[in-house]
């Protein structure tokens, strides 16, 4: 028996035809596959909409499964350092492809995390080796890709998947895996996953591990997926326990491993929705103002903990004023 795997990977489409949604994009990519020719591409769109999968399927069909040596996938956002990535890219791109196709394919995932300097360097590499290598850049926001790169690529915008298609796919998985579910459960998954197929499938698998996939199990999964510590941290700061709040912050950054940016996003979400704290609408906006400033400083600065402590001090101050 084959080992159980994470379904997000197990049910990743292998062919362009198997892909869900993005019909126009898939049609054009199929033309590339048929002609065995393609320009540099930029795949932009929200997470879980099939960008990486489309790139993999396209490469698979162009090289007819002979990926080794012809295909390289790199992720720009891991800390291996952009210099290493750059070296890898150069080394891969400058050698000639093996087999029938005259070029290689290089996929650079999460390319919007590259600095504009790194992108400038990438642009030169793309130009220089365009004979031997085609690039597929993948990003969430095409606006974070410098214009010269945008102008040299065919841009494909991936849309959030529509609900019916996600439900159909989830039902297909449930059938293959023999999972008991009800419609409310699947609808709850749709609700929380916001058109993100990866999140939908992950939630389904975790809910299925709990047992019957219904609203209850789905929301239990969601509750666990979001660290409670963020809300606790806000509560502590708001009630004037700054040092304890800062300890929570450290837990999130060091033990948990979140980036300062991720904590900020989570915190913003909690502040805006929270009803468990007596934060007035006016104070929410004041906090949002500081969050905006702090996200800028997190990017420019060195130590996320110091930057976020500044935010916590502000929350503590607003909290102490409101309780007066």
């Amino acid at each position: 028996m084959a080992l159980e795997a994470l379904w997000a990977e197990k049910y990743r489409p292998k062919k362009l035809d198997e892909m869900v949604n993005q019909k126009e994009i898939i049609e054009r990519l199929k033309q590339f596959a048929k002609a065995k020719a393609m320009p540099h591409c930029l795949f932009a769109g929200p997470p879980g909409t099939g960008k990486t999968t489309a790139a993999l399927c396209l490469a698979n069909e162009i090289f007819e499964g002979e990926l080794a040596g012809n295909f390289l996938e790199l992720n720009a956002s891991d800390e291996r350092g952009i210099n290493v990535v750059r070296e890898d890219i150069k080394n891969f791109a400058r050698t000639i492809s093996i087999g029938k196709v005259s070029f290689k394919i290089l996929v650079l995932d999460e390319a919007d995390n590259m600095t504009s300097d790194a992108q400038q360097a990438l642009r030169r590499t793309m130009e220089r080796y365009s004979e031997t290598c085609r690039f597929i850049l993948i990003c969430n926001y095409s606006s974070k890709i410098i214009e010269p790169i945008q102008s040299r690529t065919a841009i494909f915008r991936f849309q959030p998947l529509n609900h019916e298609d996600i439900i159909r796919y989830l039902k297909h998985i449930c059938k293959c895996e023999n999972i008991n579910y009800n419609e409310d459960g699947l609808n709850a998954i749709i609700e929380v996953s916001e058109g993100d197929m990866r999140k939908a499938i992950n939630t389904l698998q975790a809910a299925a591990a709990i047992g019957f996939v219904d609203e209850k199990s789905v929301y239990r999964v969601v509750g666990r997926a979001e660290p409670k510590e963020v809300l606790e941290m806000i509560k502590l700061a708001w009630s004037g326990k700054f040092i304890e709040a800062r300890n929570k912050l450290r837990e999130l950054l060091i033990n948990y491993g979140l980036s300062g940016m991720d904590v900020l996003k989570q915190l913003h979400k909690e502040i805006m929705k929270t009803s468990s704290l007596p934060i007035t609408e006016e104070d929410k906006i004041k906090i949002a103002d500081v969050i905006g400033e702090v996200s800028y400083r997190v990017i420019e600065g060195v130590d996320d903990e110091i930057q976020l402590s500044y935010l916590l001090a502000n929350i503590a101050l607003l909290g102490s004023k409101s309780q007066r």
């Binding site: 995932d109 975790a206 004037g240 033990n255 491993g257 991720d262 500044y310």
Partner: protein, 413 residues
Amino acid sequence: MRLWLQKYRPRTISEIIGNNSAVNQFVDWVSKRLKDNVKKAALLYGPPGVGKSLTVQVYAEEFGFDLIELNASDVRAREQIMRIVGTVASQPTLFGGIKRLIFLDEIDGIEPAEDKGCISAIIDIINKSSCPIVLAANDPWDPKLRPIRDLCTLIRYNKIRSPTIVKFLKEICRKEGIVVEDRALTLIAEKADGDLRSAIIDLQIFTEGRRYLRFEDVIWLPTRNRQYGVFDVLKELFWSKTALQARLAIEKSLIDYETLKLWIHENLPLIYSDFNDLVRAYDMLSKADVFFGRMNKTQNWDLLPYTLEFMTAGVILGVKKKPEFVKYQFPQKLLLISSTKNSRRIRDEILSALSEKCRISRRKALTEMLPYLKTIIEEEPSIGKQIGEWLNLNEDHLKYLGLKASKLKKINI
């Protein structure tokens, strides 16, 4: 306000105070080194504040050398050291007309465990370089420096004698038009314990805003305890009354600015009980941190003075309530980082496995995959264990993900 350290800094080798023989030895070595018949590097060693770095800097200025200066106890610079191996050091500059000098300061600050390859990179630079390499350290007998030491001409700097310090301080007072009691200068010099740099700083603090200096004014001058210096520094900083005092308080410290920033960060909520003051102080510290970021990015070290002013004067001035008397705390962040080293390593290994299998960055794997994997493993250990195998995880990884040891045994049977 100009720092006297800068204002009265020697312009030529002959103006350097104290350690004449060491300075001459250095000058000799460089000229021989240029003819290539001595050891390739020189290691200047001795206590702080006696002119080691100064000698190198002044020499470079006076004799027109292009000085490449890196501080080895600073993490960023260590990365640069590694980079410099293949580039600057091996370029034949002598024939190109530019005279170049490479200076690596505070090499005893290197942590062999954390900076793998740094020592060997330095050795590499020494062996390959066509230009003179100068190193400096407080303690050259540190075992980790042995391989470097063997390649170097050792030049020893001693504490500067008290009368020499007094003479120099007197000279400054004369130029500044300050009337001073000899006993006051003697006390400053004695407390400085051979460290001319800190003596000059003390003198400037004590005479700030006055035209005279009496013995009574300096009688409470604290002795610098080098080992626990950071507590003294914090106390002096947090209780400073003027921007200059605050700025100078950290000038005497031996710990690097980034670590000091963590100390200030740790203790801010302890000394400021009023949240208005805390917000104000953190605003400044956060700005200092932003400046550190800009310096790292642009390598523009001219920003340092402003950065330090934010970090010191900015943090302590303009608050409404006086700081509390507290026992200062060691930066907990550093403790947490070392105590969680193992679990963070395990976490990162899991993230790498997820990243590879699921074609996603480690950062995204943390928020988009890990929590679901945890739920699956906690709820259905048998399936979880299979997924663990699929990801090539070991028992430590599974335990981190919440697989109970008791359940694991059951499965193995």
